[in-house]
Assembly symmetry: C2
Homo-oligomer: 170 residues x 2
Amino acid sequence: MASSAHELTPRAREIVAAARELLEAEGPEGLSMRRVADRVGIRAPSIYKHLPDKEALEAALISAGFEEWAEAFKGETPEELGRAYRAYALAHPHLYRLMTERPLARERLTPGLEERAAQPIVDAVGGDADAARAVWAFAHGMTMLELNGRFPPGADLDAAWAAGMRAFRR
Amino acid sequence: MASSAHELTPRAREIVAAARELLEAEGPEGLSMRRVADRVGIRAPSIYKHLPDKEALEAALISAGFEEWAEAFKGETPEELGRAYRAYALAHPHLYRLMTERPLARERLTPGLEERAAQPIVDAVGGDADAARAVWAFAHGMTMLELNGRFPPGADLDAAWAAGMRAFRR
DNA sequence: GTCTATATCAAGATAGAC
DNA sequence: GTCTATCTTGATATAGAC
């Protein structure tokens, strides 16, 4: 019950802030309780006085990301949304991965947050849920393949993004 | 030089076959040298007499997957390709993840294999490389979001796939 | 609220005997 | 080609003193 981001104590917020720095610097693989504690200036076991476990820490980071999505993607056309989506992921690649590449612990999130973050995509395609899922899949696929270096070295990703957004516009 | 799949010794092939079984049963997280050795009936250190390291083992699994892609996706229309892509991923979800969710160790693969596996997608869209990348991104995004349970519980994924393929057909 | 000490577990990989 | 023994590293988490 105390695991939603808006219910954290001040000290817990400090720990989450340190975790965010560490995540952005080194990725989900480098996010250990010990390393987080180092950044805060305490020992790893002390974290457990403020957060129940590592999953709660990750949920706080993911929640912050969803809040940022809801803000960054608000009121855009499909083309603008695509650009904003890619820009966010490239600016925060490790947070993006933490947010998307695993099953989501929905019971750890503030109720309604996931829907709120998804709403800009639904709005951008005119309210069609199936089309929204298709556009999201395209954007997510482009993003993950780019982040993982899976396109050929010389690939024109701007052109691939444009080709996809053009297809969905009609 | 001895790490490409077609250059493996018979004993190494047995080890890779055991690794494939383990991977398909438990996923990339469960794929440890110890567990693979258990399936073969030997101790983990013995594996190193046949394969240089774990990455070589993974490269052999990934190479096999690409060979299967090149075969399974041959000569399809975009719609058929999408269905075949999704069917392969759902039939081999853990291999699909191993193949796609990390940077690719291209120097460990048989030269030309990656391009051969990608060719059916390029052919299906009429040779336009940008369009092929966009379609691949859509298919990969749909696949990963489905495998990770990221769509809402009631989402009609057949409809989302259809919406995407329809958009790319025109 | 912090600490030390520890439990528990698991990973990849190497040395050297047989 | 296989083994045992071991190195090295690292993880999450708990117990209990202060």
